[in-house]
């Protein structure tokens, strides 16, 4: 029997068997889907956001998805014009009850969105009564552009604080405030949520974006009967932005709240990146929409093997380890300089490094047209490593520290 590392975490005082959860979206739309997700290995589910029919009359647009494709690589990002649930509240509550009853050891998180104070209070109470372990407050849906709902709430510090406070007064279970990335600085909003009593922050919701224009009829996609809108963008493309926000939340001393990370997680390495930047809990949707619930198997196995290889007993040992290394660019130590080095035996002679260095860096690459081998002009190389990033042989070009007493002739950019 293969060794299995302990992947459990504690988040908002609740134990999760592993950090992997469904984020609030169509992947957790009803009980039958959620049951299959639990069976696949996901430790927790943030159920698709519920609202009250008296406040939201949800009619989903169609089509409501479009992807970002980069050359032959499709689905690098996903744009959706989905809204909160369009199912009746009584059905969703029934599903929450059923899930808690049938999966008592799994974690059930109810995502809610109110319109007025009373909505938030009522939804919190209903969720708690239905067995939810935690509440997540949806302050961030890019498609719900009501004045006091959706991502505009998430841009309004006072609303976030006030709604969080109402929810906290209406129930006893822990509360996560879900942030929108459609804002310059997330910290003031997260602090507002904290003042309202939030126990944790989740980030990021999707980014308002336009993925593509149909060049035949000049209409942005998805083309919803002749119109479109900048709507929620997610997937691997937003991961770098999500990582930035997560690290800022983690590193904020006044905030000091646990973070649930969302944004482009598909593999155990993505998961590890977020843990290292300070996330305790992880949420996934786009990866599941693309590949199905089964991807959690590889996340669990991969992360477990990594922990065993590195002798890590608990994920708490590594959470935030990379976030500690984030500084302001002005604090970089530039006394250490390096140049690139080409392993001639591995060079296949395509010359991409030469083209990129010529046109995009410091003209420091030498390409021998006869032998078709690249080498580095050490006098000219500024160690930007553009060459390494374009090389089709991943380990051919490496980074070598050089005598720092030498003064560089020229600098890139």
């Amino acid at each position: 029997m293969k060794a299995q590392a302990d992947l459990s975490i504690e988040f908002c005082g609740v134990r999760f068997e592993n950090p992997f959860c469904l984020s609030s979206s169509p992947v957790g739309n009803h009980a039958e889907m959620c049951a299959r997700a639990y069976d696949a290995g996901w430790s927790g589910i943030v159920y698709k956001t519920i609202g009250l029919e008296r406040s939201f009359n949800v009619v989903m647009p169609s089509p409501r998805l479009n992807t970002l494709n980069v050359f032959d690589k499709r689905f690098v990002g996903l744009q959706n014009a989905e809204q909160i649930t369009d199912r009746p509240i009584k059905d969703n509550i029934k599903d929450l009850l059923w899930l808690k009853k049938n999966f008592p050891h799994k974690v059930l998180i109810s995502s809610v969105m109110g319109y007025v104070d009373e909505d938030w209070a009522e939804l919190a109470k209903m969720s708690e009564d239905a067995g939810a372990d935690i509440l997540e407050l949806n302050f961030s849906c890019p498609q719900m552009a009501h004045k006091t709902a959706g991502y505009r709430t998430g841009q309004d510090f006072h609303a976030v604080e006030a709604f969080t406070e109402i929810v906290k007064k209406s129930c006893k279970i822990p509360v996560i405030a879900k942030m929108t990335p459609n804002i310059t600085d997330m910290i003031p909003v997260a602090l507002a949520a904290k003042r309202g009593g939030a126990d944790a922050i989740s980030a990021i919701n999707t980014m308002r974006a336009i993925t593509e224009i149909d060049i035949n009829n000049f209409t942005p996609l998805p083309n919803i009967h002749g119109h479109s809108s900048p709507t929620g963008f997610s997937g691997p493309s937003v991961k770098p932005i999500a990582m930035r926000f997560v690290s800022e939340l983690y590193n904020s001393k006044p905030l000091n709240l646990p973070v649930s990370a969302i944004g482009g997680i598909e593999t155990w390495i993505d998961a590890l990146h977020f843990l290292l930047l300070g996330a305790t809990n992880l949420q996934v949707t786009t990866g599941i929409m693309r590949y199905g619930y089964r991807i959690v198997e590889d996340m669990i196995e991969g992360l477990s093997d990594f922990m065993i290889e590195r002798n890590i007993q608990s994920l708490s040992e590594i959470i935030g380890k990379a976030a500690q290394k984030i500084v302001d660019p002005s604090e970089f130590n530039t006394r250490f300089q390096a140049i690139s080095m080409v392993d001639e035996a591995k060079c296949i002679g395509c010359g991409q490094c030469y083209i990129s260095c010529q046109d995009g860096a410091n003209q420091a690459m030498i390409f021998d047209k006869i032998s078709r081998k690249a080498s580095v002009d050490e006098e000219r190389c500024v160690g930007c490593m553009l060459c390494k990033h374009v090389c089709p042989v991943w380990d051919c070009i490496t980074y070598k520290e050089v005598d720092t007493t030498k003064i560089r002739h020229a600098a890139i950019f």
Binding site: F71, G349, R372
Partner: protein, 447 residues
């Protein structure tokens, strides 16, 4: 009407050679490393510049890709079907160091089809006239030379013995390997450049070249190719021993009169034309088809894909074998006797370099023999000019600039290189065109 070529395997072979779909072309072009000083481009004898047209496909510039191919290689569509890419551009592909090389012929097919379908603007001749030039022979070398000269604003006339343009690809390459539309499209491009083709133009006069020069043609390019098949003495005087040129031509243009049902066919030779003949015989309903070659299986000069097709069509390979005797009923061959052979010296694949292996005698019942062992020039070269320098079986001698020993007379293609690929011939025609242009400019400067 009975169709000669209708077997399932051939259909599969053809579909394998279908142009890549848009989706497949996008995927394939994105495997390309977009090399600096692309080795694939250096590997193309005609300078078709695959490195550039693949880049253009990757960046969604499909029409640009079609233009690159057509502007660099007037037989771009034909070459996309016929090129032995594994010996040329794909052999040079850098991706090979990591995985399978880029499917360059597939991408070339995609781009030419795209250009055809979306009707990129035709090539146009400019109004300027640099003078008249005569080309003898409308095969790949002649066409390559003509297009290049026309682009340099020369007034080009091609004299063609047959009634259609295209040379070897037109007459001797089976339809399943090269659809007629591909040749038609390339010839259409040639004609839009204003090149004049005179069909059924036999060169009868012994001083044809002098006459052309006297008629005001400033230079002559000879690209008459190799139009006569070599034959084996052993089969002299038998009426059912054909050469591959007449056999393939009959299959292509007169296939309703060919019925090989229940007949056994022996093809002698190991190159592409031998394999084409064997596959065509099978497709015409032959029972057993033998491919008898001195070369062993791993030495066959034919393209890999063709050999694969021949195997799938159950052609019997008698590789490393030689025919030693004929059984005949008067003028009709009824059977062949042969033996296995081995090379005396290594790396010399010539009939004089074999010795028979004792105890390997075999006998085959055959109803038709097709000889596909090589070709020679179809004209007595002296017809062109009595002092034109030749060697061997009438191969014209030229220097690096494709100049013959006669002032103003150039030659290229098979009649010079003694038999190579279509793409090589196009390349030689192009290079000769540049030489002709230089020669005429120098002459003008001197005058």
């Amino acid at each position: 009407m009975k169709k000669a070529i209708d077997t399932e395997k051939i259909k599969q072979f053809q579909s394998m050679r279908e142009p890549l779909t848009l989706q497949a072309a996008i995927r394939e072009s994105n495997r390309c490393l977009l090399c600096f000083d692309a080795p694939c481009s250096a590997g193309c004898p005609a300078g078709t510049d695959p490195g550039k047209f693949i880049r253009q496909i990757k960046f969604y510039n499909y029409k640009g890709a079609a233009r690159t191919i057509r502007n660099h290689n007037i037989l771009g569509s034909v070459c996309a079907f016929l090129c032995p890419v594994e010996k040329l551009c794909e052999r040079a592909c850098s991706v090979k160091a990591l995985e399978d090389p880029i499917n360059i012929s597939g991408l070339q097919r995609f781009a030419t089809e795209y250009g055809k379908h979306f009707q990129i603007e035709p090539l146009r001749k400019s109004e300027k006239n640099q003078g008249k030039i005569a080309i003898i022979g409308c095969g790949p070398a002649g066409v390559g030379c003509a297009a290049e000269l026309a682009k340099m604003n020369y007034d080009v006339t091609i004299f063609e013995r047959e009634d259609m343009a295209g040379g070897v690809p037109k007459w001797n390459i089976p339809e399943f390997r090269l659809p007629a539309e591909a040749i038609a499209y390339d010839v259409e491009n040639l004609l839009s450049l204003g090149v004049d083709i005179r069909f059924n133009a036999t060169i009868e006069n012994n001083e044809a070249i002098s006459m052309l020069l006297a008629e005001g043609y400033m230079a002559v390019f000879i690209s008459t190719g190799l139009s006569v098949a070599l034959k084996i003495d052993l089969f002299d005087n038998y009426i059912n021993a054909l050469d591959y040129i007449s056999f393939l031509r009959s299959v292509k243009f007169d296939h309703n009169n060919i019925d090989l049902k229940n007949k056994n066919v022996a093809v002698i030779g190991g190159g592409s034309v031998a394999v084409d003949s064997a596959v065509s015989a099978k497709a015409c309903g032959a029972n057993k088809v033998y491919l008898i070659s001195l070369e062993h299986l791993d030495e066959l000069p034919a393209d890999k894909g063709e050999i694969e097709l021949a195997r799938e069509m159950n052609i019997t390979f008698k590789a490393g074998c030689q025919i030693t005797d004929v059984n005949a009923n008067e003028k009709i061959i009824t059977g062949l006797k042969g033996m296995e052979v081995e090379w005396i010296k290594p790396e010399n694949f010539s009939p004089s370099n074999v010795r028979k292996v004792e105890g390997t005698t075999f006998a085959l019942n055959v109803d038709l023999v097709v000889q596909a062992i090589g070709t020679k020039p179809g004209y007595e070269i002296s017809r062109f000019h009595k002092s034109l320098q030749t060697r061997g079986k009438g191969i014209i001698e030229v220097n690096d600039l494709f100049e013959t020993n006669l002032e103003g007379v150039f030659a290229g293609g098979d009649v010079v290189n003694a038999g190579s690929t279509v793409v090589q011939a196009v390349g030689e025609g192009k290079k000769a065109a540049l030489s002709i242009d230089n020669y005429l400019k120098n002459r003008e400067n001197k005058a």
